[in-house]
Amino acid sequence: MTRSLDLTRRFLLGASAAGVSLAFAGQAGASAAPGPRNKMVVIIARGAMDGLSVVVPVDDPNYRPLRGALAIEHSLPMSDGFGLHPSLAGLHSLYSEGQMRFAPAVAIPVRVRSHFDAQDVLENGGEGLRQQTDGWLNRALAAMGGLKGLSIGAQTPLILRGSAATSSWAPGGRTGSEDRIASLLQDLYVNDRLLAENLAAGLQTEAQAMAMGGDPRLARNDVAGLGQAVARLMTGPDGADVVALSVDGWDTHARQVGQLQARLTGLDQVVSGLRSGLGEDWDRTVVVIATEFGRTARANGTGGTDHGTGSALLMAGGAVKAGGMIGDWPTLADNRLFESRDLAPALDVRSVFKGVLRDHLGVDKAALDSSVFPASADEAPALNGLF
C-alpha cells in the first residue's frame, strides 16, 4: 500500500465528487460509435459477498490480525497492495491482460444490514430505502432506447424491472443436491423425519438423473455452462445488449473458507464462460460483479463473518482498457472501520454503475443524474476515461 498513490487517488475522488469534470473526451465509450453496440452484464452476488476475501488487502497490516484463519493466503498479485482470491484464476488472467479492474471498498448509499433491503437499494438505484419500484438498469435501457435487456432466471430481478421491455431466460436447471437452500432445509427438518428423508432422497434421484444426462437442460450448478449459455443469448443480430444475472450463496456466516472457494470458483467459471462464449463480442463487453454489502472485518466465532458494510466490486471485459484499482482504500485501521466493525465504504457503488453506463453504453449525464439514479448528481461517475 503506497501512501502517495493513496493520496493522489483521494484527491482525484474529491475533485470528482466536487463536480470537476475529468472526462477524457477521446476515450469516452460507445455513444456515437457506429457498428455493433457495446454490451454490459451485471452479476449480482446475493447474500453479501465478502470483499476482503475477493480483493485481498495483503499489504494492510490489520488484515491478518482481524481475519485470523479466514485470511486468504496465496492470493494472486494485483496492484496497490491487493491480491485476488486464488479461486479467481480466470479473472486474474483478465487482470493481467488489462481487462479487469477492482474497487476494494464500495457500498450502496444506505447503511442497512438486511439482505432484502440492501439488495433492493442495489438494484433500484435509489439513495434511500423503498424509493423506486423499478430497477436502474431498466431505467438505463429506457433512457437509451433500442437496447435489448435480458435477465437470467425465471423471474425478472428488480434491477431489470420497469417500463423498458426486457426478456428473460431460465436455464431450467432444477434444484440440485448441493443447493444451498436444500441444505438449509435439512436444518429446518431436523425434527421432521418424513420431510427430511424424502427431500434428501428426491434431490439425490434428481442429481443422478442429471449426472446420467437424462436432463438436456442446464443443471443448476453448471456455472461454466451458464456463462456460455448466456453468451449465446448475447451474440448475433438479436443478441441481448444488457444482461442481469444473479449468483447466490455468499452469506458465509460459517465455514467461510470452503464456501467462498466453491462460490468464487463458480463465479470465475461464469465469467470465463462469458468470455469464451462471446468470442469477438467480448471486446465490446463489460461485466460488473457487485454485492449488496460486505461482511464484518473480524472473523466471527463460527469460521465465518457477519453482515457488514463495504465490499469489493469487480469489473471485467474486453472493453476495459486500463487495469488497476477504482476508488480508494480506507484501510482496516481501527479508527477507520465503519462502526468499529466493518470495512468503511470509500465509494458509492452507483458511481461505478454510472461510469459504466456513461462511458461504455453512452447514457447521457442528465439521464444518469435524474432518471437512472434519481438525485445522484453528487455521485459523479467514477470511471472517467477508463474505457
Partner: protein, 446 residues
C-alpha cells in the same frame, strides 16, 4: 352398445344451465358420437378429418371452460375470509368425488361443486348426499346414467342392463363404508332401485325435429321434465318391484325408491362413525385422536347429520387446536395457503395447473371415486417434495417486495418455530427467505 337411458354431455348441457355457453355452439357442431341415436333418428354427420377436428375443438373448448372455472375456485380459496368454510366445502367435494379423469364428468365439475356440494355443506348430510348422487357429474362419473333395469320396458326391448357402480360406491365410499357388513345382494338391490336416475338427452327437449313415433314416446318417458340441476327420472328404464337393502324393504315408488334407500344409508350409525373418523383424519391428524372421533360422531348422531353442528363440534374440539401440526398439506392446499400468505391470487390457469400436476394433484382429477388420498405419506414423497421446492423457489422469486419475517409471523403465528424464524431472518435474499418459509415444516404441515 345402445341404451335408452344414456346420454352425452352435449345432451345434458342443452338442459342444464350451461357453464359453458361459448362452448355450446362448438359442441353442437361435433360429430355424432351419441350411442343413443345411431339408429338413424338423426342424420349422421360427415366423418373424417372435419369430424375429428370438430370433436377436438369442442373438447378443447370445454376443457378450457372447466380450467377457467377451476382457476376461479382457486382464487376464491386464496382470497375468501372464510377459510374454514372453503376447506369444509372442498372436503365434501372430495368425499363425493366426481373426477375429471372421465371427460363426461369433467365438464360438469364446476357446476357440480356449485350446485350439488356448496349449497349443502352446512345442511343435513342426507340432503348433501341426495344432491351429489343425483347430479349429472356423479351420474356420468359412476355410470348411473347408463344403468337400465333388465325388466323395465326399455330393458325388455333390448339387451341392456344394470350398472352397479354408483350403488356400490354410495355404500362403500359415500355412506356406511365397506366394513359395515353389507352383501353383494344389497348392492345389486340398491342398483335396481336406482335405475331411472338419469340425465336429459338432447332428443328429450329438442324442438323442430320431426317427432317420430319413438321421439314422442321418449318425451312422455320423462317425468316432470329435467329436474333440479339437470337430474331426470326415466320410468322407462326403472326396474319394477320391491327392493330389500340391509334387511329393509322398499316398495316400488319409482324415483323415490332409490331416494328412500339413500336417505336410510345416510342416516345409519355406520355412516356417522365413518364420517366422524374421516373428518377428524382430514382436519386434525392422519391417525385421529379417538376422543375427537367420538365427539364428532355424537354431534352427528344427536343432530341427525346436521353438518353445521358437526363443523361447530370440530372447531370447538381442543384436539383440533393441537399446536403440533400433524398433516402435510395437499398440493392444492399448499398453493392456496401460499397465496394467502403472500396476499396474492393465481392469475393464470396454466401455471397453476402445471404446479399441481408436478406436485401430484392434477386439478379436479382424483385418481378414483375414493377421492384424493389424505395422509402425509401420500403427499410428501421424495419427488413431490423436490417439486414443492421448485414451485416454492419460483413463487418466492415472484414476490417483489414485502418482509419475509413479517409474512412468516403472520401466516404461522404461534406455530412459527425458532429454527424457521431464524432461517428466514438469516436468509441471504428475499427469494431465499420466502422459499425457506414456504418449505418450512410449519408451512408444509397444518
Amino acid at each position: 352398445m345402445t341404451r335408452r337411458g344414456s346420454a352425452t354431455p352435449a345432451d345434458v348441457m342443452m338442459n342444464v344451465s350451461p357453464p359453458a355457453g361459448v362452448a355450446m355452439q362448438e359442441l353442437d357442431n361435433r360429430p355424432n358420437t351419441d350411442p343413443t341415436v345411431t339408429d338413424g333418428s338423426r342424420p349422421m354427420e360427415p366423418a373424417g378429418q372435419a369430424a375429428f377436428d370438430a370433436r377436438r375443438a369442442s373438447r378443447q373448448a370445454l376443457t378450457r371452460v372447466a380450467a377457467e372455472a377451476f382457476l376461479a375456485r382457486t382464487r376464491l380459496a386464496a382470497t375468501t375470509p372464510d377459510g374454514f368454510a372453503e376447506r369444509w366445502a372442498i372436503f365434501w367435494a372430495n368425499h363425493f368425488t366426481a373426477s375429471a379423469t372421465k371427460f363426461q364428468s369433467a365438464i360438469f365439475l364446476d357446476a357440480y361443486e356449485r350446485e350439488a356440494i356448496r349449497p349443502h355443506v352446512f345442511g343435513r348430510f342426507e340432503t348433501l348426499a341426495m344432491a351429489a348422487e343425483q347430479h349429472p357429474a356423479m351420474l356420468l362419473y359412476l355410470d348411473q346414467a347408463q344403468s337400465v333395469g333388465p325388466n323395465s320396458p326399455a330393458g325388455q326391448r333390448r339387451s341392456a342392463g344394470l350398472n352397479e357402480n354408483l350403488a356400490r360406491e354410495i355404500m362403500e365410499l359415500h355412506t356406511i363404508g365397506s366394513d359395515a357388513g353389507y352383501s353383494q345382494g344389497d348392492v345389486t338391490e340398491f342398483a335396481r332401485a336406482l335405475t331411472g336416475w338419469s340425465i336429459p338427452a338432447r332428443r328429450d327437449t329438442e324442438a323442430g325435429r320431426p317427432a317420430g313415433r319413438r321421439g314422442r314416446s321418449m318425451a312422455r318417458a320423462i317425468v316432470g321434465g329435467a329436474g333440479q340441476n339437470g337430474f331426470v327420472y326415466r320410468p322407462v328404464v326403472h326396474e319394477p318391484g320391491e327392493r330389500t337393502v340391509l334387511g329393509q324393504r322398499y316398495a316400488d315408488t319409482g324415483r323415490a325408491q332409490g331416494e328412500a334407500i339413500l336417505k336410510d344409508l345416510a342416516n345409519r350409525p355406520e355412516t356417522a362413525r365413518k364420517l366422524a373418523r374421516k373428518i377428524s383424519a382430514h382436519f386434525v391428524a392422519d391417525i385421529p385422536p379417538p376422543g375427537l372421533v367420538a365427539t364428532l360422531e355424537r354431534a352427528w348422531t344427536t343432530s341427525g347429520g346436521d353438518l353445521a353442528v358437526v363443523a361447530r363440534a370440530l372447531i370447538a374440539a381442543p384436539e383440533a387446536w393441537e399446536p403440533v401440526p400433524a398433516k402435510v398439506k395437499t398440493p392444492y392446499d399448499f398453493i392456496v395457503s401460499a397465496h394467502r400468505a403472500f396476499g396474492t391470487e393465481p392469475q393464470q390457469v396454466q401455471p397453476l395447473r402445471q404446479g399441481l400436476i408436478a406436485m401430484g394433484q392434477p386439478p379436479q382429477s382424483a385418481p378414483s371415486p375414493e377421492g384424493w388420498p389424505d395422509t402425509a405419506a401420500d403427499w410428501a414423497g421424495p419427488d413431490a417434495l423436490v417439486k414443492r421446492l421448485d414451485w416454492s423457489r419460483a413463487a418466492a422469486s415472484r414476490v417483489q417486495a414485502g418482509d419475509p419475517n413479517a409474512a412468516a409471523a403472520a401466516a404461522l403465528g404461534l406455530r412459527l418455530g425458532e429454527r424457521t424464524r431464524m432461517a428466514v431472518a438469516r436468509a441471504e435474499s428475499r427469494p431465499e427467505a420466502f422459499t425457506l418459509f414456504l418449505m418450512s415444516p410449519e408451512f408444509q404441515r397444518r
